[in-house]
Symmetry: C2
Subunit: 186 residues, 2 copies
């Protein structure tokens, strides 16, 4: 299974692609940051981020897109832009029939470090170890995107998306699987 993790942000949107390997191991398939220029109007910044996300999804063909769940009570000043980018990432996946998973920051931290209160340095250190990286991913947004993807791969069975379970019908799931297969061939 291949997961694209998205750490949403208007200035820097982290993206990380991770493949699952047998024996609860994981392998890096790609990592980066999509940036938008703060001098542009919001609509053109969102367009830039959307085009970048489209390129990442089409280049890496993930089975799932895992997005950080945005809470309005955190970082009130930047939450609007963060929520907008999260929405655009979900839409990009939904347009392609790719399931979306949402994970909270504390779920992600707990999955990769064992503690829901880990700081950014701990997350970066552990994700580097899990993925056997020679150099830690920079900036922190890129490391967070990889951690989101690993969190999704290692989620407890049955606890998939909490209150946001992806409500696809069996027909929709079959269609999404066929779409993924067709994109991989194409």
């Amino acid at each position: 299974m291949r997961v694209l993790g998205v750490d949403p942000g208007l200035t820097r949107c982290g993206v990380g692609v991770v493949d699952s390997l047998p024996g609860r191991r994981a392998q890096l398939a790609g990592v980066g940051v999509i940036r938008s220029d703060a001098d542009l109007s919001v609509d053109l910044r969102l367009l830039r981020i959307a085009e970048g996300l489209d390129e990442w999804i089409d280049a890496h063909v993930p089975d799932v897109v895992a997005v950080e769940r945005v809470f309005a009570q955190h970082n009130v000043a930047s939450v609007t832009g963060t929520a907008q980018v999260a929405g655009i990432a979900m839409l990009a996946a939904a347009r392609r029939g790719i399931p979306v998973a949402l994970h909270t920051p504390s779920e992600v931290k707990a999955a990769v470090t064992g503690s829901g209160r880990a700081d950014k340095a701990q997350v970066t250190k552990m994700i580097s170890r899990i993925l056997r990286l020679d150099d830690p991913p920079r900036p922190a947004d890129a490391a967070d995107a990889l951690a989101l993807a690993v969190c999704h791969l290692w989620r407890p069975a049955g606890a998939l998306q909490g209150g946001e379970r992806h409500e696809l019908t069996p027909a929709q799931r079959a269609w999404a699987a066929a779409e993924t297969a067709a994109r991989r061939k194409g």
Copy 2:
């Protein structure tokens, strides 16, 4: 000039299309509400709203899309979904080269009623009078979308978008105008 007003919301997204007429008059070109089913996952709800917005933009070919500016401090419980839909509306316009304007709720109320503190009933009453409608637009989201469009048409010259001025280069503006003309012919 034709303006599409968008009152963003995940459950009900109001859309209203208004044409300017000579002598500070305005005419209704279309009004409605795009709904998404609360039983669906957020990504599929955003997809439904995005598809609806695409249909409205492609059917009515606005010169400008006016979106309500979302503030994180208001309605914390629903602000994430509202911000996501606002972002998707801005992206839909930006993908087509259509300029986006953001207006605050108080700007909209002041433009159509003379008071930035008007209630929903006053906005609905005044927008019905301005557009010479036999019946008031329902629900309130639809009336708010029309009020947004009228607010944009009647904005003071030079005060276009406050801090969010649309930073198009002359070449981008020429391209957007040519695109609009091409869509109208097509």
